[in-house]
């Protein structure tokens, strides 16, 4: 299949919210976009470009800001496309993709609880992997691991 011209296809939709298209090895490319254009971009990518399968949503903590990346797959083109946006660390909000791709639901729950990215309008933003009420965001760089201390656990049968 012909390589798609992502700039030409998405430029009219996003305008200046499209920050750039980079080459990424063995994929259709990597789109960097402004977070305000998230839903428009998702819709365009799914409907116009045919990337109907969302594989992964992940977050990266770059200490000064956080990055949210999406990996989508097109069954027609047989290739991946990467979407990536930056959110400031003090206001880590981005629009939820689970209305466009239902498969984003759990991935966003995971990114929320581990990297601390708030997904707006997410249907069910609960803890998934960590216990309810766990207040830490373990995958932030500021969260350091250490050897377990000698802890005294009080159980009912001691």
């Amino acid at each position: 299949m012909e390589p798609v011209d992502l700039t030409a296809a998405l430029g009219p939709v996003l305008g200046d919210r499209l920050l750039g298209v980079e080459a990424f090895p063995r994929s259709a490319g990597r789109i960097r976009f402004e977070r305000s254009g998230a839903l428009d971009l998702f819709r365009a990518v799914r409907d116009s470009l045919g990337f109907r399968h969302l594989s992964m949503v992940g977050g990266i903590d770059w200490t000064d800001h956080r990055e949210v990346f999406y990996v989508v797959w097109s069954d027609d083109r047989r290739e991946y496309l990467f979407l990536s946006t930056d959110v400031p660390a003090d206001d880590p909000h981005v629009e939820s993709a689970s209305g466009i791709w239902p498969s984003a639901n759990w991935h966003e729950r995971e990114a929320w609880e581990l990297v601390g990215i708030e997904f707006d309008h997410h249907p069910d933003l609960r803890h998934l992997l960590t216990p309810d009420g766990y207040e830490f965001r373990p995958l932030l760089r500021s969260f350091k691991l250490h050897e377990p201390e000698e802890l005294e656990v009080k159980t009912r049968h001691v």
Partner: protein, 208 residues
């Protein structure tokens, strides 16, 4: 199970302080045979029931418990260890393999049961996270006494490769008392069977 060992067996009646030792003379039961001989005449008298009670009582309580009942129950307990049927992590696969055709843990009378009420030993086969910790304790408490715990693999023993992780309990002995630790990541099925045999040895040598 954890009740303190009772004091010395009451072979001799306790003499109250201040009483003289002449009357009544304490029964010298220590040197007598365990089963006192019952006279035929006694059988016809009113003393039959107390005498028989005494004879049988001494037989069952003293001789029976130490020589018959305890060894039999000990033998039964150690030869029929039902583990809890659950899988935590990687070791659960080797746990399942131990019940496969090649190792066949059922040879030793080890049959996994799904309900904790019917289990004797909880084999903690994998990484214990803080999220599952209170469920593990509940399961342990649901098991009836006597019960044992085997920590299978490095994760259950001390956290293993995930020791530093934020969500992992560094050793299940922080939660429940562990009787046998099995090393390995994961331990081979042989090692698991060896752990069970080790537990059998532990039970055999147990003082009650």
């Amino acid at each position: 199970m954890s009740a303190p060992a009772s004091s010395a067996p009451a072979t001799r009646p306790v003499v109250p302080p201040g009483a003289t030792l002449e009357s009544p003379a304490p029964l010298p039961m220590v040197d007598q045979p365990a089963v006192p001989f019952i006279e035929i005449e006694t059988l016809r008298s009113k003393e039959f029931i107390p005498a028989a009670k005494e004879a049988l009582g001494s037989l069952i309580v003293e001789q029976g418990q130490t020589k018959v009942v305890r060894p039999v129950f000990n033998w039964a307990g150690r030869n029929s260890l039902f583990p809890l049927h659950w899988g935590l992590a990687c070791c659960a696969i080797e746990f399942a393999a131990a019940f496969g055709a090649r190792w066949d843990a059922e040879r030793f009378g080890v049959v996994p049961r799904s309900s904790p009420r019917q289990c004797d030993v909880m084999i903690v086969n994998g990484t214990v996270t803080w999220k599952v910790a209170h469920k593990l304790i509940t399961l342990y408490e649901q098991m009836p006494e006597p019960k044992w715990v085997i920590a299978m693999g490095n994760c259950a023993t001390g956290g293993g490769p995930f020791r530093t992780a934020y969500s992992v309990v560094p050793g299940v002995d922080k939660l429940v008392p562990v009787d046998v630790y099995i090393a390995g990541c994961p331990p081979r099925p042989e090692a698991m069977l060896d752990g069970i045999l080790e537990l059998e040895k532990l039970i055999r040598e147990r003082k009650e």
